[in-house]
């Protein structure tokens, strides 16, 4: 049986080989797409297998490659934490690869398939390498490979201005983040005491003893970098621009998986490298997590571009993951390993869950886009009749992300709530008072998310078609796309009803990082009951909820169908008015109006109503125009001033160069004299 690291290596090599060979496959155009993406799926599957094996065994394997810097060859290491993220990446990679076979065909003939395959595989390989890397240099190479590949994928439809703008913004923020991570490594390496290149290995960083100031510098530099990638507010502005414009299979990967690599990075830095840290680090993470969660979902509610909305939900979910991480760090700082383990498991579980349901939702959005060619929800409606497969699968995603039992999103959010409920164990009085308020915010987030997805599903799939084109031209998507979504939906359900197994499986991670196991208490009453700390404290049973609901529904249905009753289909009741048109339905903007009114102060909302009088009867309104513009306040608060400042400085710097040669000579002269006076 091959070692797990070998399997992971095989996955990466297969992907890299695909990237290199993609141009050669061009000659066999008919099988280019199926072949490439099937192989991508195989590689993803290999990564999943390697990850599952590693996590289950709790094993650590490392290797060194013969390439890299002199004195610093590329180091690889596969430990349970890395293994877990391999599974996350691999699972979504698998689903999306299958889905892509059908999806990418939609671009056939118009765009370069080679480009898509090449960057797709590089993107996947980059993500796998990020979690496998075991030295600073290799990590950054992989990190930027991932960023660059996804940048080109965001640019795939590069003739559109919004794609170019989004890609640029994305790459810029990602690169600034990468530089911050680089500096964090610099701090770790510089303070580790190791000489030369040895300090850049993760092993040296694990054993480094940093003073508290340097440790904080390292952690927060890294956190900044990772937060920029994860889209934590206020570094999120690129995310709702880039994710919507990318091809949907890429959006699924970006939102579902790429963001998670930064969660990996934060875990690595906090729990693996630094290990001992003050509680306020966790406090900062928790606070930012809460802000991201609440603001993310609120912004999402205001969107009517389907993919943009989903992108904002990624901000929200990253926030939820960070809440778990922050709690875990706080517990760890107060030496409460069991509680830290619970919060960490909650965070990791949500990482996995979000990857899958967000992947599913983006795939669904892609299917809708594929079928209707619009992203604006205001022009959709009633798709459940035209897309009988996509609708229920998308619904599974909606229910999961709304944290409703028995699907997976609920389990991880419930675990996070449990972690919150245990915060009174903290010996810090202020924290005891403040942290429960976080739980309230999390509850708000969950409820708003549900509201948002009622809107999404209701407006997109239910009701009647609102668009301009004929709805008859909309067709269900092909089998591979349905297959990818189906697999993801099944995973959502399984992860929701079998949490005890999952927690038992990933238990090696908290054991290694927090020094405590969860499975002994979590599975004490058997696989059926999830009891995170003790069954007296709290418990949940996914299977019972699922089977219970199923049973009651089935019995009720049967009982009510013993006697045949007639069901008569009639036109929609129009309250006696005539000419009820689909345009009279509630729209996405209308749906979110109450919340917009209540929480509007958080956005820059501009509403305009313009009444054009009737031509014949000026007293009567002829038509009414309603304009709504909602903008992210952070843009004006944080980014626009920075851009302006940069250009201001650039203008001032430009004054140096006036074009007159005398002035230039004077610079030279003055430089010389200044140097001579002060230094010579």
């Amino acid at each position: 049986m091959p070692a797990s690291l070998d399997i992971a290596g095989f996955a990466v090599l297969l992907l890299l080989a695909l990237a290199v060979l993609a141009p050669l496959l061009r000659s066999v155009r008919s099988i280019q797409i199926p072949l490439a993406f099937s192989l991508g799926a195989v590689a993803s599957l290999a990564a999943v297998v390697a990850g599952i094996m590693t996590v289950a065994a709790g094993s650590v394997a490392s290797a060194t490659m013969s390439v890299g810097l002199p004195g610093l060859p590329f180091h690889l290491r596969l430990d349970p934490l890395a293994g877990f993220f391999l599974v996350v990446i691999g699972l979504v990679g698998l689903f999306v690869s299958i889905y892509s076979i059908g999806y990418v065909k939609g671009y056939g003939g118009v765009r370069s398939m080679t480009q898509m395959i090449c960057f797709y595989t590089l993107f996947l390989a980059g993500m796998l390498l990020v979690v496998l890397a075991d030295d600073a240099y290799f990590f950054l190479v992989a990190w930027e490979l991932m960023a660059a590949a996804s940048y080109f994928l965001v640019m795939y439809e590069d003739e559109k201005g919004e794609n170019r703008r989004a890609a640029f913004l994305y790459l810029l923020i990602a690169h600034v983040g990468a530089l911050a991570i680089l500096l964090a490594f610099g701090v770790m390496a510089g303070q580790s005491g190791a000489s030369g290149f040895d300090g850049y290995t993760f092993d040296a960083m694990r054993s480094a003893h940093l003073s508290s100031g340097w440790a904080a510098a390292a952690f927060f530099l890294a956190f900044f970098g990772f937060a920029a990638k994860a889209g934590v507010i206020p570094l999120h502005v690129w995310l709702p621009e880039a994710h919507p414009v990318a091809p949907s299979n890429i959006s699924a990967l970006m939102s579902g998986v790429m963001l998670k690599t930064s969660i990996y990075g934060i875990c690595r830095f906090a729990f693996d490298f630094i290990k001992i840290f003050p509680w306020w680090w966790g406090g900062v993470v928790l606070a930012l997590g809460l802000i991201s969660a609440v603001m993310g979902v609120l912004y999402a509610l205001m969107q009517h571009d389907l993919k943009r909305l989903l992108a904002y939900h990624s901000v929200e979910n990253i926030g939820i993951i960070l809440i778990g991480l922050g709690l875990s760090m706080i517990f760890a700082a107060f030496h409460l390993p069991a509680l830290a383990a619970l919060a960490l498991v909650a965070a990791l579980y949500h990482t996995l869950n979000h990857a899958i349901f967000k992947g599913l939702l983006f795939m669904g959005a892609g299917a809708v886009l594929h079928a209707t060619h619009v992203r604006n929800m205001e022009e959709m409606g009633g798709l459940i009749h035209r897309m009988p497969w996509t609708a229920p699968l998308f619904l599974v995603g909606c229910v999961s992300i709304s944290a409703l039992p028995p699907f997976n999103g609920f389990v991880s959010e419930w675990l996070t709530f449990q972690a919150f409920l245990l915060s009174p164990a903290l010996p810090h009085p202020l924290l005891r008072l403040l942290i429960p308020l976080g739980a309230a915010l999390l509850a708000l987030t969950g409820a708003l998310a549900a509201a948002c997805f009622v809107k999404v599903f209701g407006v997109v799939f239910l009701g009647q078609w609102r668009g301009h084109q004929k709805p008859e031209r909309i067709h269900e998507v092909g089998p591979s796309m349905r297959g990818g979504m189906l697999l993801a939906a099944i995973s959502c359900l399984l992860l929701g009803i079998l949490p005890t197994w999952v927690i038992g499986w990933l238990d090696t991670i908290p054991e290694q990082l927090c020094g405590a196991k969860l499975s002994e208490s979590a599975g004490k009453l058997g696989w059926l009951w999830l009891t995170p700390i003790a069954h007296e404290r709290a418990s949940y049973s996914g299977p019972v909820v699922f089977i219970g609901i199923l049973a009651v529904v089935a019995v009720t249905w049967l009982l009510l169908h013993v006697r045949a009753t007639s069901v008569s289909r009639v036109p929609i009741w129009d309250c006696g008015f005539v000419k009820l048109t689909p345009r009279m339905q509630y729209t996405a903007s209308a749906f979110s109006m109450p919340l917009r009114r209540v929480l509007g102060f958080l956005f820059a909302v501009r509403e305009q109503v313009e009444i054009v009088p009737h031509t014949n009867h000026p007293a009567l309104p002829g038509s009414l125009q309603y304009r709504l513009r909602i903008r992210d306040r952070f843009w004006n608060w944080l980014y626009a001033p920075q851009g302006d400042a940069a250009y201001w400085v650039a203008r001032q710097v430009g004054r140096l160069q006036q074009g007159r040669i005398q002035i230039y000579l004077l610079y030279s002269f003055v430089t010389l004299i200044v140097l001579l006076v002060f230094l010579g």
């Binding site: 004054r655 006036q658 074009g659 005398q662 002269f669």
Partner: protein, 221 residues
């Protein structure tokens, strides 16, 4: 010629070189500038020969000859011809007025003196005190380039700097190694060739040799 006399003579020549450097700053007529430059070269050649004689470093004679040929005959001739051919007879406008320039020049001399003080301490050559003059000449040449806006004056400032450098080499170390001296002379020759071409290009393209016109490439709006 006794050793002390040679030193005195050299000091006198150094003073004359400094004087010509100031004269270059003060002169408004282009042809006048060329003449002064030729004089400066002449004093420089003389000084080199004197030092060569007094120190017994005979390779300095070659340097002296080279200077004479290059800076007294060849370069002034080229400049003279060019100025004639391009018909630039006007007075030259200075960016900063001349009295101010002179004042700045004096400050530069003082500064050079201050700067070369430690070297004077170290050196045991008879020419050590003239190093300050050499540096001052370099700086004055540069000042001239900064304050004048005519292409020919810029070149003259540049050449005056070159003179200063040459003088510095002689006074600090009795000249650079021969290969260097020759190389520098070669470079100077090529430079002369090039600025000759440039004068033509500039005057045909811009219809005057005022460098103020050449300010299209800039970063300001």
């Amino acid at each position: 010629m006794t050793h002390t006399f040679a030193v005195q003579l050299n000091s006198l020549l150094a003073a004359l070189i400094l004087l010509t450097a100031f004269a270059l700053l003060a002169q408004r007529k282009i042809l006048g500038l060329v003449h002064i430059f030729a004089w400066q070269g002449f004093f420089l050649a003389l000084s080199t020969a004197v030092i060569g004689y007094a120190s017994g470093e005979h390779h300095l004679y070659i340097s002296s000859l080279l200077t004479l040929v290059m800076k007294v005959i060849l370069l002034p001739y080229i400049l003279y011809t060019l100025v004639r051919k391009l018909k630039v007879h006007r007075d030259i406008d200075a960016v900063v007025n001349i009295p101010t320039t002179m004042l700045l020049g004096i400050m530069l001399v003082v500064f050079s003196y201050h700067l070369t003080a430690p070297i004077r301490e170290l050196s045991n050559l008879m020419t050590r005190s003239t190093l300050a003059v050499a540096l001052a000449t370099v700086m004055l040449g540069m000042l001239m380039m900064v304050t004048r806006r005519h292409a020919v004056t810029q070149i003259l400032g540049f050449l005056a700097m070159e003179n200063g450098l040459f003088f510095a080499a002689t006074s600090a170390t009795y000249g650079m190694p021969m290969v260097v001296e020759l190389g520098v002379a070669l470079d100077l020759l090529i430079a002369a060739f090039i600025f000759g071409i440039f004068f033509f290009h500039i005057s045909t393209t811009f219809e005057s040799l005022d460098v103020e016109q050449m300010a299209k490439l800039k970063e300001t709006d």
